[in-house]
Symmetry: C2
């Protein structure tokens, strides 16, 4: 509660203003994703982002300090979506193999949906300062750590045959994450088909029994 | 046999000259890989490459038309090494599961060795012209096609349980290829350990029997 921000009707008004600000930030991010993805980060000016949105450059500077901050936010989202998906799936109950099946489907769906964000992060990470990059690498390590724990759980219950859970979690991350590079929306498989098959392959990879009890 | 290139002793002399030219090209490529990998393609000038080698820029222009041609050559090698490794392993005889085991070990070793070339290609491909990029994409498709054929063979002999060989070959490529991103020479596993475990995981992934008859 801050009196400069909260006089009278501001609870509602503030929340509408926040939504407008969030909406404008989304528009900027969307335009930047289109341009960074198609033309590369360094060849994209903030003028080009402003032009695509039909706004002036000060409009962008009101929401982001500079172009690097936009890249950092795109990069953060590319990982945050995967981590959220993993955390959510891990919170469910059930046997490790059931949870892995559900985890892989969820992460695959998220990978396909946010593939352009991921492509931008992997291509352009050298354009981020060390300070901006470190938290992103931490988020990646968090992802690998959470997946490793699930594999270890499956080893403990005897469901998974995994020699090296940490290496296997990197193998799974590569198997799924690589789709950001090859997936085409107009391709022969639907998103749900790809999710199902990735989940089956993941169960094979960890040596789980292919039959699930539904 | 061309008379301007082949008078008298030129068979030998030409071959030494060719070796010197090849050696000089290697030096340029190595220096460019170091700089592109650490600082990014766009931030690396040919002046910086020349400086690292202690040569003048005309020395570089004698061997490469421009910076893009160096990037194209680095990119080509990143894929050519994997394709050569795959072709070589596929040429061996044996049951599909034995050949897959050997293929995965060979490709993994190649991936770890040439990881910086691969990183540069995936980061910097937007800096190549469409004309330079297309042959590289064809080489990637060739890799996927060769691996798919091996999986189909294993399905035919009844050794592999694979629903969708083309998708599974992309899954395997991701599982192995992703190592270019996480592998650290100072890490806890040796190259040979990683190769062995990748090969075991690949056999699991395609539903082959884990026991191999040696």
């Amino acid at each position: 509660m801050n009196s400069t921000q909260n006089d009278g009707l501001d609870g509602g008004a503030g929340s509408i203003r926040d939504q407008v600000i969030a909406f404008k930030r989304e528009q900027i991010i969307n335009a930047a994703v289109d341009l960074f993805y198609d033309n590369g980060y360094q060849r994209t000016t903030l003028d080009a982002v402003a032009e695509r949105l039909g706004v002036t450059k000060p409009f962008i500077y009101y929401h982001f300090k500079d172009k690097e901050e936009i890249l950092a936010e795109i990069s953060r989202r590319s990982i945050a979506h995967a981590n959220d998906a993993l955390e959510e799936a891990l919170a469910t109950t059930g046997r490790p193999s059931e949870r892995l099946y559900s985890v892989v489907r969820t992460i695959t769906r998220s990978t396909l949906k946010w593939r352009r964000y991921t492509a931008i992060f992997f291509r352009e990470q050298k354009n981020l300062s060390e300070q901006a990059r470190q938290p992103l690498y931490s988020m990646h390590r968090k992802f690998d750590g959470m997946l490793t724990k699930l594999l270890e759980e499956g080893v403990r219950t005897g469901e998974f045959r995994v020699t090296d859970p940490a290496l296997t979690s990197l193998a799974l991350a590569g198997m799924i994450g690589w789709a950001y590079n090859w997936y085409r929306p107009e391709g022969r498989l639907s998103v749900e088909d790809i999710c199902d098959r990735m989940a089956e392959m993941a169960l094979n990879l960890v040596g789980a029994k292919p039959e699930r009890s539904d």
